[in-house]
């Protein structure tokens, strides 16, 4: 009798077991980049792919809706701003545990820690610590009160304007009442970090056996150059802006474009970006074309104009160059991936960006281009065929194809000679913002945070990225251009808090750099062209970073 009971129990157990295992875990497999993730340590990462991986397992004070870019709470449930607009007091959501994947049991387990203001404070300071040498350390250092000296190693941590008022209250004082302060405070390098692990394991705290995280997923497996496997964090309660994950497992496969397409077509991958070389085939294929989607991506491709080089030092010539580029043709016949022609550097989805449709230019206007060219030729006393300029780009297929098209356009419309100079990437980036930059040079830019200042001021204000100055403040490298009105305007717009006013200011700034002084030629805004299996429910992120916790597998 006993034996029978035992047997029955055993059978019941087996049955139960099989019932459980019949409910297959939902696995979402994506190719979110061809190369291995460089790092998931928030203080050390830099590129979009690494930010994507870090966002899955960590998170910042606030977040934005991936489609609308609306600012939403994340770790900070609520926050208050002081009257002068410089001091934020963040109230951290209680009950978000640090979890880890236990390799022995194969389950996600809670640790003894919860996310507190101390973890955020630690992350801010670690990122800005000069010894960490974080590539993003300067962002906080430039904005947070007293942080610059700490970041330069001339003052200790006590000077930094961040205070832990209690375990769930964090106060951050900024230099200026800028609208984007809160975005900087929430950027990837300021995600909460587990101080106890970093102190114990050093750089190895991100190894699976040591790692603790708190976001919608946690990391289960990382086989370098092959895959990264995330599992759902069942203890993540969800915050105002980040929901718990809908799928049980999320797999990033790292595959070259062709290998990735083979995996997609074999049915092993649910989402992949399509390379330009595959677009025609995908659109012609009855199955693939139904799974094809094209959506906006908040990046802009543009050409820098060297305002102190031969020929391009003349503003009329620069106008002729910009107004003779047919952007519609470029996106239709050259890039072919659903990009949108651009009239401005800012992407329309950024906070305080001008309305692109209302901008009169720069557009393709051959008559105006010709007129400007004639003015230039008259002023200089030369003929069009005497003009030879160099267009430089970093060698990749897309950049070369666009450059060849533009070369032809300038030849046809203006009758000038254009030399193309394709350079190996690192060589190109090393010469780009120096006096050696060619007359025309290509660059593409995606924002780190979604505010207009990130693009336009960081790129073109004198002394910034594409407009370097020497010790005396004179133009040195990049576009080599100075306009006091522009500099004052973008500085004022950065500190301005009224959004309507900011839009006006950025509209004016775009007019200066695009139509009046013409220091750059906007080409197009990027797009995501991707294939998604029909059984995937997904969102379309405008930034380069997807919110995979909102994706679902419905089979």
């Amino acid at each position: 009798m006993k034996k029978i009971v035992v047997l029955l129990l055993l059978a019941a157990c087996l049955l139960l077991n099989s019932v459980v295992s019949a409910d297959d875990p939902k696995v979402l497999t994506v190719i979110d980049g061809q190369a291995d993730i460089a790092s998931i340590d928030p203080s050390k990462l830099e590129d979009t792919a690494a930010q994507q991986a870090a966002l899955m397992i960590f998170g910042g004070l606030t977040t934005t809706n991936e489609e609308t870019r609306e600012l939403l709470p994340n770790l900070a449930e609520t926050w208050e701003l002081s009257d002068d607009g410089t001091v934020y007091t963040f109230h951290i959501q209680k009950g978000i545990p640090w979890v880890k994947y236990d390799t022995a049991s194969g389950e996600v387990v809670k640790t003894d820690h919860e996310v507190t203001a101390n973890d955020l404070y630690y992350a801010f300071l670690r990122t800005m610590n000069p010894e960490t040498a974080s590539p993003y350390g300067y962002q906080g250092a430039q904005s947070i009160k007293g942080a610059a000296d700490y970041n330069n190693g001339t003052a200790d941590a006590s000077t930094v304007g961040i205070k832990v008022l209690d375990d769930y209250t964090l106060e951050i004082a900024f230099n200026y009442p800028a609208a984007y302060n809160i975005s900087i405070a929430s950027m990837c390098m300021h995600y909460a970090e587990p101080s106890w692990l970093i102190e114990e394991f050093g750089d190895k705290w991100t190894d699976i056996e040591n790692l603790a995280s708190f976001g919608p997923f946690t990391l289960k497996e990382w086989i370098h150059d092959d895959r990264m496997v995330f599992v759902k964090n069942p203890y993540f309660p969800g915050t105002g802006g980040v929901s718990p994950a809908k799928v049980d497992e999320l797999v990033f496969l790292f595959r070259d474009q062709a290998a990735g397409m083979a995996e997609y077509e074999a049915g092993n991958v649910d989402w992949i970006e399509v390379s330009p070389s595959d677009i025609e085939r995908v659109k012609a294929d009855p199955v693939l074309s139904a799974e094809f989607s094209s959506s906006d991506r908040a990046c802009t491709e543009y050409y820098l104009l060297n305002c102190m080089a031969e020929f391009t030092d003349n503003v009329n010539f620069r106008k002729a160059l910009s107004y003779s580029v047919n952007r519609e043709d470029i996106v239709l016949y050259v890039t072919k991936s659903g990009e949108t022609p651009a009239k401005m550097m800012l992407h329309p989805s950024l906070t305080a960006a001008p309305n692109e449709d209302e901008l009169p230019g720069p557009i393709y206007d051959p008559e105006f281009a010709k007129e400007s060219l004639n003015k230039f030729l008259e002023e200089e006393g030369i003929k069009a065929e005497d003009v030879t300029i160099t267009l430089a780009y970093n060698s990749n297929d897309k950049a070369r194809a666009v450059a060849e098209a533009v070369q032809q356009m300038w030849k046809d419309e203006l009758g000038i000679n254009v030399n193309l100079e394709g350079m190996e990437s690192k060589v190109y980036w090393a010469t780009l913002d120096t006096p050696d930059m060619a007359q025309v040079a290509r660059i593409g830019w995606c924002p780190d945070f979604f505010d207009s200042t990130e693009f336009i001021r960081d790129a073109f204000r004198s002394g910034n990225m594409n407009n370097e100055v020497d010790e005396n403040g004179n133009p040195y490298g990049g576009v080599r251009w100075y306009n006091k009105e522009f500099d004052d305007l973008v500085d004022a717009a950065a500190a301005e808090t009224d959004n309507e006013k900011r839009i006006e200011m950025y509209t004016r700034a775009e007019t200066i750099i695009g139509q009046e002084d013409v220091v750059f030629i906007p080409l197009y805004h990027y797009s995501y062209v991707a294939l998604t299996k029909p059984y995937i429910e997904r969102t379309f992120a405008v930034s380069g970073i997807q919110a995979y916790q909102n994706w679902d597998v419905v089979k």
């Binding site: 040498a133 300067y138 394991f201 050093g202 092959d226 070259d256 083979a262 990437s425």
Partner: protein, 341 residues
């Protein structure tokens, strides 16, 4: 051997620093102070000779310390042990600049075993196919069989993996779905540094068929052509005629006299071939999505990831030297005229 290493390291070091562009140049022109901080962290602001000798001493001179290893990627040594109260760490190939939480040693540990697995299998396939078709072609010179196997050899040499790989993937992975299109065994950790943890069909073998065949066939063609030419030459030698005339069977003549004596030129290419195959092949690994070493040879240069460039080159140099020594020893085994005293 140390002199070879020193020269290889020195030449590589000079070349990589002579190329314009540095590890932290990117489309995002970071503030100068930020780049200076990163350069200071990796000691790139030291004079070049100092950087070079620091690099060599980190690798070759064991470090003794009373403190346990720090856990920083900069201090990750390949050999770490403890004698009494002293911690010894040795063979530190430095950190990776582009993957900031990995060291070159970490890359060796994670990726080299995969390349060795693929390389050994491809080598076995190359030798098997190469020998069989080479011998057949030589024995039936100018016959139909000769033409067939030599045509296959020519196709093998002239169709690179970048063409044959996607075709194989398409047929067997996407259309027929018999084999996984890309990837490699994900079972970890490796046994004895490089053996797979899981020997099952679904855990290991199914991934190996396409890439090792695609990679091996090119080398097989090389071996076949070389062996054929060498055998044809040996078959005309006097001692082969002597062997035949003394009444030895054809089998004995071919295996004992002809084949053994034709092996020398084939063995010569075995050394570099084996070293190349097991240190990873960029194209095969990229086409088949295999997480091996191959891409680090190329990408480290694109990224100006100096320690990874030096590490991969030194590794390749070491294996090349080792393989050539083994080949030299094998010469002595098959050719009695070669003796090392």
């Amino acid at each position: 051997m140390f002199i070879i290493f020193f020269c290889v390291a020195l030449i590589t070091f000079i070349l990589m620093h002579a190329v314009p562009g540095g590890p932290f140049d990117s489309d995002k022109n970071l503030p100068k102070e930020t780049i200076e901080k990163m350069e200071a962290k990796y000691h790139l602001n030291d004079p070049l000779p100092k950087q070079f000798f620091d690099y060599l001493s980190d690798i070759f001179i064991p470090e003794f310390s009373s403190e346990p290893p720090s856990g920083l990627v900069e201090d990750d040594a390949l050999v770490e042990f403890k004698i009494g109260n002293t911690y010894v760490s040795w063979l530190n190939f430095g950190p990776s600049y582009s993957q900031r939480t990995r060291s070159v040693n970490g890359i060796f540990k994670d990726n080299l075993p995969v390349s060795i697995q693929l390389g050994v299998l491809a080598f076995i396939i190359a030798v098997m196919i190469g020998f069989v078709s080479g011998i057949i072609a030589a024995l039936h010179q100018n016959s139909f069989l000769d033409y067939v196997s030599m045509s296959i050899a020519i196709i093998g040499v002239s169709v690179p993996v970048i063409i044959s790989g996607p075709v194989l993937i398409w047929i067997f992975g996407v259309e027929k779905k018999i084999l996984p299109p890309t990837g490699w065994s994900t079972a970890r950790p490796f046994k004895f540094f490089f053996l797979p943890a899981d020997w099952s069909w679904s855990g290991f073998w199914q991934y190996t068929i396409l890439p090792s065949f695609a990679l091996g066939i090119g080398s097989a063609a090389q071996i076949a052509r070389l062996l054929r030419a060498s055998m044809l030459q040996v078959m005309r030698e006097d001692y082969v005629r002597t062997a035949r005339s003394k009444g030895a069977t054809e089998r004995t003549v071919i295996l004992k006299h002809v084949l053994k004596n034709s092996l020398i030129p084939v063995l010569t290419i075995f050394g570099p071939l084996f070293a190349t195959l097991i240190t990873g092949t960029f194209v095969t690994e990229t086409v088949f999505g295999i997480p091996g070493m191959g891409k680090y040879f190329v990408n480290s240069i694109n990224n100006r990831d100096y320690p990874v460039i030096l590490g991969t080159i030194l590794l390749y140099a070491m294996l090349l030297v080792l393989c050539n020594i083994i080949v030299d020893l094998l010469y002595a085994a098959i050719d009695p005229r070669i003796r090392y005293d």
